[in-house]
Each structure stands twice: as C-alpha cells, then as structure tokens.
C-alpha cells in the first residue's frame, strides 16, 4: 500500500553509540498517518534505543527526526511529548500513589492550563477544567475497558490491567504518534488478543499512528501494516509482515531459525 500523504513521523540516518558500541547505525524510517508499524529484531538490536532517541531521552549523534515536518532533534523528552508523541515503557511506570483516574488525568497535563496560583485559589475556571479533565479521563478508561477501576490504586491492579491504564494515560492527550515498548510482554494469549483489538481501535477510531516494538511475533505479524527489522543497530528489512517473514537476512538474524516455521508467524 503506497501513500502519497506526507509521513507523520520520519527518521533519517539515525546514529548513536554507547561507549564504542553502535546502538543505532544510520536507521531510516517513515511512518504514514494511521499506520501501525512493528519493529522487531533480536535482543540488543537497538529497538528500545530507537524509541528512546525518537522521544528525546537520548540525543542522536547524527540523523534527523521530524514529526509532521517539524524537527525533534535537540528537544527534551517533555517538549517532544507536548508536540504529540506518546510513549509507554517496558517496565510499568504507573504512578503508584495515584488512583487509576488520577493517573489518566495526569495524561492531560499538557492540555490543561491551571498554574500554581490559580490552583491555590481554586477559581471557578479551575474547577470547570478539572471536571472536564475527569470526564475525558473516564471516557478513555471506558475505551480500554477499565472504567470500573477508576478509583483503585495502581498497586491493586494486575499487570495486564496496569498496562491498559498506561495506554489510556498515553492516549488521553490525543497524540499523533504512539510509541509502544513491548505492550504485550508477560501477557497471556487471551490478553494479547485484547491488545491486538485495542491497537486496531486506536488506529481506526482515533487515527493515531503506532510504532510498536515487540517480541511477541504473533502480535506484530498480525497487526502491523508494515514491519521493520533491526539487527546490530541497522535496518535489515522492511515491508509487509509476510515479506519480512520470508527474508533470509531476517531469518539468519534470529539465529538461523526460520521465521516462516515460527508457530506464531502467520501469513495474512
């Protein structure tokens, strides 16, 4: 599927080394609007580093990153997030001392305007803003199916539920692009199917572009419009899931094990 529209997120020649090791070596990537792109590769291939560089946690040694044409290089993580890039993490980063609802409301931080002084005096407009934020947060919780848990503490939730809340939190500000770092890790088969359905709805109902780093091959292959494969910091393949699965270099990268014969890789 070719697209004539301008890419939502474009990365060119991204390079980064950590003390002599090339974590990223001239990586190029272009995401179309409302695309789901999977990123796979063996351990240490640079997948999470790619996410970290895009969202500004690390500064690349070389290369360009643009979001709708605007350059992101050199900006801080919080500034990039403010421009419409959402991110979830491998390890749970739920705010442990807040309820589920408060967690998601925090996701609206960049869209709310109450400062310390206004908050202190609890002006009418502050209360109105809070009420609206709570309503939007509840809506998002409904979207991920967690609305009944709104007043629970994060620590009371199961691992899978925590991840759902984190997704809701990342979504509530309507980001343009969502970077997901292994959303399916540690989840049962049933939950993985739920994540699959959720990601589709995020793309279809909200038009959000998704960049998905995952090890659960089945999920990546089923849901991605296209897949990018990294190895040793370099891109070694890119294309539709079926094409990538048959690519000999990709197979070799996974230690000689044929991706085709992987029980979870299905042709669409």
């Amino acid at each position: 599927m070719t697209t004539a529209a301008a890419p939502r997120l474009a990365v060119q020649g991204l390079t980064l080394s950590f003390g002599g090791i090339r974590a990223l070596d001239g990586v190029d990537l272009e995401l179309s609007p409302a695309e789901i792109r999977g990123v796979i590769g063996p351990n240490g291939a640079g997948k999470t580093t790619l996410l970290n560089v895009i969202c500004g946690i690390h500064r690349p040694a070389d290369g360009r990153i643009t979001l709708d044409g605007e350059s992101l290089v050199g900006l801080r993580f919080s500034q990039i997030a403010a421009r419409g890039l959402g991110r979830t993490f491998q390890a749970s980063q739920l705010f442990r001392n807040m309820t589920v609802l408060e967690n998601v409301m925090t996701g609206l931080h960049g869209h709310l305007h109450t400062g310390a002084l206004a908050a202190a005096f609890n002006l009418g407009r502050v209360r109105a803003e809070e009420a609206e934020a709570a309503a939007r947060a509840r809506e998002l919780l409904g979207f991920v199916g967690m609305e009944t848990m709104a007043d629970r503490l994060g620590t009371e939730l199961s691992f899978g539920q925590q991840r759902l809340v984190e997704v809701a939190r990342a979504l509530v500000s309507q980001p343009k692009v969502l970077l997901l770092d292994e959303p399916a890790v540690g989840l049962s088969v049933v939950r993985v199917a739920e994540v699959d359905a959720l990601l589709r709805r995020i793309r279809d109902e909200r038009g959000i572009t998704i960049l998905l780093v995952e090890h659960v091959i089945r999920l990546v292959m089923e849901i991605s419009d296209r897949v990018t494969v990294l190895n040793y910091g370099r891109k070694i393949a890119e294309g539709r899931p079926a094409e990538v699965a048959e690519n000999p270099e990709v197979i070799e990268a996974y230690l000689g094990r044929s991706l085709e014969r992987h029980p979870d890789a299905r042709r669409p």
């Binding site: 969202c55 919080s78 705010f95 925090t106 908050a119 005096f121 629970r152 009371e156």
Partner: protein, 321 residues
C-alpha cells in the same frame, strides 16, 4: 476504632477552639500554641517539596531564618511597620529560594540534599558573621508589633494573625495538591520518566515546589520573629531542620493534614522536653527513627485507615485492612 467525625468537622472544631483559645490561655500557653500554628505553616510548606515533590532538600530551616531576619531587620534597621515587613520578608525569602532552586534542582537525590545542606550552613555563617547587618551571634530584639485600632495586645494580635495566615496557607496548599500542579509533582516523584512522557516539565515543577516551600518558610519566619520578639541564628540551624523533617515524616509524607497533625505533636514534645536540652536531642532522634521504621506512612495513615472521610487525593490509604 470509633469515628471521631469527618475531617471537615474535626478541623472546624479545632479552628474554633484555636480562635477562642486566647480568652482562656495564660501568656506562656498562648506563645506555645502560636508556635504550633507557625510550625503548621512550616510543615505544610516542607511537605509540598519533600512529600509531594519528593525533593529531598535541607534548605527549609535556613529559609525560615531568612524570613525571620528579613522581617526583623526591616523593622529594626529601616523602621518599617510590621505588616509591611512581613510581606516584604516573605517575598524576599521566596526570591532567595528561587535563586537557590535554579542551580540546585539540576541535581537530584543525595546531591541535592548535600547542596542544600551546604546552602544551609552558608546561611548560618552569614547570619553569624555579617555583623554589620545581622547583629551576629547575639541576635537582636524586635519591638512588639502593635495592632491598633483593634483591641488586641501584641501577643494576641500576632496569635490571630498567625492563625489566619496558617488557615489560609493550609487551604491554599490543599487546593494546589488536588490540582493539576499536585498531580505533576506526585508524577515526578513516582516516575520522572513517565512524567516527562506526559509533557511535564521536570525543572519547572521542581522549582515550583521549591519556591512554594520557600514562601511558606518565609511567612513562617516573619510570624516567628514577632512571636519571639527576638531573632538569633541558633533557631535556624540543623537541629531545626531535623525538627521540621520530623514533623513532616511523623505526620505523613504527602499528606497536608498529616503535616498539621505532625506539627502539633512535635511542638508538644519539644515543649515537654524543653528543660532537658540533651535529652531533647536524644528523644527527637529516637522518635524520628522509630517513626520511620515502624510507621513509614506517618500517623495520618492510622486516621485514614480507620475513619471515614479522611482520605486525600494522591495518597489513598492502604486498601488492605
């Protein structure tokens, strides 16, 4: 555990009792409770930085001292009237807090602790040695403020002023904590990475927490100078800092009402042990250790667990009963 009423009821009764207190109290008791009210302001301000913001800084006692000195010196050296001096003192302290925050908050954890500790020691040195301005180690006396045309003695006037200021500042803090700003602070405390992912500017909010606590410390200092009618360096040293930490931790980190509780409790203890200077240190040290080891959530956690209506946003009680 029998319910003692909702939080609103308890606080309302307490406020009323405090407002009527001067009618029945002797001067010493009035002074002590006045101090307690000032400690509430200190503890709530420090909790904003330490409990909610999670920033471990040792600057609060020094800022408390700067507030007291600024207010006192404006009165004694420049003959400013008291209320004007209070406002200016608080603003000045806030300014100093901002100047300290800008470089210091680039550090975190123990580095921040040490840098602010260094600032605290430096402030002590200035107060002791810059005698042309601060009167040095002996300190200086302040004439009691007058509250004409209100029919109040100086001590009563200061008491009501302190009570009023404390009530207002506690409510303001309570509002801030329940707002977007409070969520940002707790987010930073619980996960800086996730906070950034939600477009929260770390430096900005850490600075806001620091500046708020500086303002509270400055106001407290301004009130303190008039309560004591005397200002000297030794009330703002590291022991004072430990007392303030104790109030916050014993009451409950991250709980506004816990700080109110902690302030009252610690003052009662401090007064109770006033006669034994050495034992005071030992007792405080022991209390601090015991509270941290056995009651990591502070005394307020008892209230929250066993009584209705005491829970607070951003810090719900442990649901396991």
């Amino acid at each position: 555990m029998p319910s003692i009423g909702t939080r609103a009821q308890v606080m309302g009764v307490a406020l009323l009792a405090l407002a009527l207190f001067p009618l029945v109290a002797n001067p010493y008791l009035l002074y002590v409770v006045n101090l307690g009210v000032i400690y509430v302001v200190l503890a709530v301000g420090l909790n904003l930085l330490l409990g909610f913001g999670g920033q471990f800084a040792f600057a609060n006692a020094a800022l408390f001292g700067i507030g007291a000195y600024a207010t006192g010196l404006l009165q004694v050296r420049l003959q400013w009237p008291y209320l004007l001096a209070v406002g200016a003192g608080a603003v000045f302290t806030t300014g100093v807090g901002l100047l300290v925050a800008l470089p210091a908050l680039r550090l975190s954890g123990l580095y921040l602790a040490m840098a602010t500790l260094a600032f605290a020691q430096f402030t002590q040195w200035v107060l002791l040695n810059w005698e042309t301005v601060t009167f040095g180690a002996g300190g200086f006396k302040i004439p009691p403020p007058r509250f004409d045309p209100l029919p109040l003695t100086s001590a009563q006037g200061i008491y009501y002023l302190s009570l009023f200021v404390a009530a207002v500042l506690v409510i303001l803090a309570w509002n801030v904590v329940r707002s977007r700003v409070g969520r940002a602070l707790v987010a930073i405390r619980d996960s800086e990475l996730a906070a950034e992912a939600l477009a929260i500017d770390l430096a900005r909010y850490k600075t806001i927490a620091f500046v708020l606590s500086a303002f509270y410390a400055g106001m407290a200092g301004a009130l303190y100078s008039a309560t004591l009618n005397f200002v000297a360096p030794e009330g703002f040293d590291l022991f004072q800092m430990v007392v303030q930490f104790s109030m916050v931790v014993v009451g409950g980190l991250g709980s506004i009402w816990g700080s109110v509780l902690g302030a009252g409790l610690l003052l009662a203890m401090q007064e109770g042990l006033r006669a034994f200077k050495g034992a005071q240190e030992i007792a405080f040290g022991l209390l601090l250790m015991l509270c941290i080891i056995f009651l990591p959530e502070g005394l307020i956690s008892f209230l929250k667990r066993h009584m209705r209506g005491w829970s607070e946003p951003l810090r719900r009680p442990d649901p396991r009963r």
